[in-house]
């Protein structure tokens, strides 16, 4: 379980996370929603420690990882995590096959002779085949996301962090990615933390949803409870309404 207690993060005078409290249960899909700039990406970057929080605590299976600074300990921590970047973040200079197996060299003891087999296997898991020799520049947006997901899966992480997995994709590809997230949960029993604006996808894949607003969690609840909530911020966001406390806050 990942437990986040009173998490704080600021960039200069700007407070992005202002006391976030959240619990993420093992084997579940937890989706974090919220408007642009509310700190969703900052939150998951703190969880994988790409960013160091300024206050509060992050506990992973009871272990405090908030202020680990030793690079070797960080690498050990990251063995358990996979991060799907918003734009894929595939390495342009490498082929698809090399991208997928990149982490094996650093995070596992897998012999090099097995890399090709693993690349094929993980690409098949995300519905792609015979593209190992291609460069990322030759792929479509949806394919890039799936290759990036195959790269995440190659190291068999226990927790996968998805940064807006369906953004910029057409509705059919968004649905494919959502189905993939659910499949991975069922097949591999991974814990997933998804940040998204896409409410259709959020309700489809989530066990629990949380909404971030003004650096705090407005509501964190199981899917059905979240859907029925009367919290005006959450309600407005789910309905995508222009009128409500969020807009009032902006116009003020």
């Amino acid at each position: 379980m990942i437990k986040i207690e009173n998490l704080q993060k600021h960039f200069g005078p700007k407070h992005i996370l202002n006391g976030v409290n959240l619990e993420i249960k093992n084997g579940e899909v937890t989706t974090i929603i919220g408007g642009s700039g509310t700190g969703k990406s900052t939150l998951i970057k703190c969880i994988i420690r790409l960013l160091e929080p300024d206050g509060g605590k992050i506990l992973v299976d009871g272990k405090d990882i908030t202020h680990i600074n030793n690079e070797f300990q960080l690498a050990k921590l990251r063995k358990n995590f996979g991060y799907l970047f918003q734009e894929g973040a595939l390495f342009d200079s490498l082929t698809v096959g090399e991208n997928v197996t990149f982490g094996l060299k650093y995070l596992t003891d897998t012999p090099k002779s097995e890399y090709a087999k693993i690349a094929k296997e993980k690409l098949a898991l995300v519905g792609l085949k015979d593209i190992e020799h291609l460069r990322p520049s030759e792929l479509s947006g949806g394919m890039k996301k799936r290759v990036s997901l195959a790269r995440v899966l190659a190291t068999n992480p226990k927790v996968i962090l998805y940064d807006e997995p369906t953004s910029g994709l057409d509705p059919i590809m968004s649905e494919i990615i959502s189905q993939l997230i659910l499949d991975l949960k069922k097949k591999l029993d991974v814990t997933s933390i998804v940040i998204t604006h896409d409410m259709k996808s959020a309700f489809e894949i989530s066990d629990t949803l949380a909404m971030l607003y003004e650096g705090k969690v407005q509501l964190a609840a199981p899917k059905e409870e979240f859907k029925r909530t009367q919290n005006p911020y959450v309600k407005q966001f789910i309905e995508g309404s222009a009128n409500g406390p969020i807009q009032m806050k902006i116009s003020n």
Binding site: K45, I48, L50, E71, L74, A75, R78, K79, F81, G82, Y83, F85, Q86, E87, A89, L90, F91, D92, S93, F102, G103, K105, Y106, L107, R151, T155
Partner: protein, 258 residues
Amino acid sequence: MFKKTGKFLIFFFTQFGQATEMIKDAFFWFRKSPLEVNQTLQQIVKIGVESVPVILMTGLFVGMVLALQAGNTMQNILSEPLYIGLLVSFSLVRELGPVLTAFVIAGRAGAAVTAEIGTMKVTEQIDALSTLGTNAIRYLVIPRLIAFTVSIPILTIFSDIMGIFGGFIVSVEGLGVPSSTYTNDITTYLGVDDLMHGLIKATVFAFTIGVICCYKGLNTRGGAEGVGKATTGAVVVSMVMILVIDYFLTAILHAFGV
């Protein structure tokens, strides 16, 4: 005025401090982790091998123009083109070879390094390296620092040789200097310490370019515009620093008799 100067000094020393921190990290990871051999070899090819033609061309023409200028000046002062080999070889080996090679590499390969690392930074590829168990210093910076530091001194030697050859062509064919006089000038007066003087400079310039270009790339912000700014900044700062370091290094090397 004071405010502006103060701001500039704070900016300069902040960047200098951060770049020093990057060098410290590079030495740490150089000792603690295995070298990325493939990356290093690829960078040696990109920075060094692929720069050979342009270095040979610049070296040749610099040598030719030096011989032409020296020959004409000597002709005017002493009525005959004396010491052309000496002037060309000394100028090239001690000064122009390392400086011009460093300039060309900063403009050609340094800009490419900053643009590549900068693009990786703004597209989150640098973060991706960290999530996959390595980091930018280990995977990107160390191979490039090694490639610059290995390539530039070797390219400087190529540039020196081509320059001396260019000077030879102009002296012998254009100014009528006997070929034996030109070569005797070089073999009599040019020593190993002159070559060392140039190679020490080339090595220091190489490391400086590597540090500046990697640092600028890693600190790129703001998308495509940011990559452009970082690249321009890296080339300009590298060129200015080469000239500044050149002066102080020359003074130091002279003091040590090199």
